[in-house]
Amino acid sequence: MNIHIQGGQLIDASQGIDKTCDLYVADGKVVAIGDQPEGFKADQVIDATGKVVCPGLVDMQAHLREPGNSHKGTIASESAAAVAGGITSLCCPPDTKPVTDTTAIVELIRLKAEKAAKANVYVMGALTKGLNGEEISAMQSLKEVGCVGLSNAHHPIKNTQVLRRAMEYAKTMEITLFLHAEDPWLSDGGCAHEGVMSTRMGLTGIPSCAEEAEVAKLLQLVEMTGARVHFCQLSTAKAVRMISRAQFDGLPVSADVAAHQLQLSHIDIAEFNSLCHVQPPLRSERDRDGLRDGIMQGVIGVICSDHQPHDKDAKLAPFAETEPGISALESLLPLALRMADLEMSLIDIIASLTITPAKILGIPAGSLEIGCTADICIFDPEEYWMLSEQSMLSSGKNNPFIGRELKGRVHYTLLAGTVTYQLSD
């Protein structure tokens, strides 16, 4: 199957390309950029005039809910939603049921993803057995079956000695740790940023310090052990500054932020809007600005969806009793593109959605170099559209941007040279 993608604005941060030119795909791979190779006969021509052609997006954190919570979403339903959002590679955290702490679960997820054949699903293994925070998992075995990293998801590792051993062992096995920095004591029972809104609404607060204190501790352990650590879904400005300093000092640390954290703040939980109940909580405008600065300066390299689809009932309760999270695959790209309003260049935004997360995960994705697998996203950066429950492919309809106009719409998604999503008129 030969595909000729015609007239689009090709943006590939991995090669520093941002120009209007054609792209040629054959046998699932990129074969030429610009001029048509000799003897190339297109079976399909995609007119990308006025659209951006970029590598398929790489989403570092997306809960697919399977195994264990298939009433909220399945690997099939959520990977279909992913490609509708232009995402061709995604990474699922280990807080499945049962926990992804054995090779069998990793293989199960991989099989289901292959059967769905929509997007590449990468698996994050559990850092501790059953995510209990006490015994380290069989890291080497998990790595051998293809886990791209290890994480304890939102389950705390309270014992600092366990954390130290986990880092030392991971360093030995050369595995990256993906950690959520949240002090379990300071955040205990909380559901909202501690500040004006939590006070007004009488919600138990999670102080910014819960993240900052944990980041400080983890950075000391990184310095001690040399382990490679990625900080997942930062929420405070101060944590960004601390990580910036650590990067300056040469520590092997990186970070990501969920797209909604760049656009919403704790004000949005007003009127007990459970769709804005997320973990870590939406914080102050100052924190949101700090996160934006972090992205612009490259301290935070990655924008992810932190996709968490829920069944309807999970959000139908008093605020604190609802389950946190946003069904975010289909709003990832338009929310990230809003960074362009702050003078961030399109190529830098795309880097944070493609090559940078691919490099941190160590996966072959995020690039359209000749010879690379043709995972491609084609979107119109100027098109306005309305996110609605009906239009969402994810099983979870929990997204606070439903009913709002978003800018930037995916028209085609290709996985290994095959169209897996095409916008219907």
């Binding site: 500040g195 939590s198 006070t199 009488g202 919600l203 009127e271 007990f272 008093p318 605020f319 604190a320």
Partner: protein, 326 residues
């Protein structure tokens, strides 16, 4: 464009009573004036008026309460409503029935009003968002968020004692962090336009950024109640010792308890209030609780009048004149 206040109907009349926050001063004054009309009723031989005859009120108490629950029951009965009181801890939700399923079942039984006490902030609002259009919801306390009838009965008591709000300095002392009562009082006092609202507590019991609610924060009891016209003492929950908020009741009383000696720092005609139930010797000395400045028992009496006012305003037809009972 601002969204409409869920508590008001199309004519800007009170439909639900979820929180004091966001209501206009005139609405609060209307509630107080209506309560004034009902106050005399308790002393009459026949205490009932037919305002809510034929209406059914369901008391849904997800948290234990004696005072609030019984005053709501009395208020409903005096308005001639049928009342159904449910203690939910022993009821359906423990069998896994969801809150919304339970509400729909009660609506199917023809309930016109829910009076809700719930441990989770926002619960009353959540219920109000999901009830049928003819049903009213009264918040009888949700988590640490709001307890608006308590807040208003305290305003009623203050108005009875002091006449007007403008010149007053009011000190609220105690566990502000966990207090829905304090939040309702603060919103009511600032809306009614008092001179100064103070909150007094150690830092462990003061919520973050509380000054944004328009209050002055004091950590010393002495400065906090100095020249106050009204002192509202909050109940100290025993659980606060376990949470590490305070070392001991004795130490709390030493620093923040309202003793006779301390009371002298306030205005000579100071009014002492407490939403009850009181812990004698923990937040307030017995002789102060029972002393000449205390209006703690009047607060309870006033509570019935306020609850009748709010119930009749949301559900009844205020245009019907209160006739003399036959």
């Amino acid at each position: 464009m601002s969204r409409r206040n869920i508590q008001l109907d199309e004519q800007n009349k009170l439909r639900h009573f979820i929180t004091v926050e966001g209501l206009k001063r005139q609405m609060l004054v209307d509630i107080l004036d209506t309560a004034e009309n009902f106050l005399g009723l308790g002393a009459r031989k026949t205490k009932k008026v037919p305002l809510l005859r034929g209406k059914t009120v369901a008391n849904l108490f997800f948290e234990p309460s004696t005072r609030t629950r019984s005053t709501f029951e009395l208020a409903a009965q005096r308005l001639s409503a049928d009342i159904l009181s449910m203690d939910i801890k022993t009821s359906a939700t423990s069998k896994g029935e969801s809150l919304l399923d339970m509400l729909q079942n009660l609506e199917a039984m023809g309930v016109d009003m829910f009076v809700v006490r719930h441990g989770s902030s926002g619960a009353a609002r959540f219920i109000a968002e999901h009830v049928a259009p003819h049903v009213s919801v009264i918040n009888a306390g949700d988590g640490c968020h709001s307890h608006p009838t308590q807040g208003m009965l305290d305003m009623f008591t203050i108005r009875k004692e002091k006449g007007e709000f403008a010149p007053l300095t009011v000190a609220i002392v105690g566990d502000i962090l966990h207090s829905r009562v304090a939040r309702s009082q603060i919103h009511a006092l600032t809306t009614l336009g008092v001179t100064e609202v103070r909150v007094v507590a150690p830092r462990t019991l003061i919520p973050a950024d509380v000054a944004t609610l328009g209050v002055h924060v004091h950590h010393e009891m002495e400065s906090g109640i100095k020249n106050a016209d009204v002192i509202i003492m909050l109940r100290l929950q025993k659980e606060r010792m376990q949470g590490g908020f305070l070392p001991s009741e004795a130490e709390y009383f030493k620093r923040y308890g309202l003793s006779e000696a301390r009371l002298k720092l306030a205005k000579p005609d100071v009014t002492v209030m407490h939403p009850g139930p009181i812990n004698r010797g923990v937040e307030i000395a017995s002789n102060v609780a029972d002393g000449e400045h205390s209006v703690i028992l009047q607060q309870v009496t006033n509570g019935i009048a306020i609850r009748m006012a709010v119930m009749s305003m949301t559900l009844g037809r205020p245009e019907i004149e209160m006739g003399e009972p036959k």
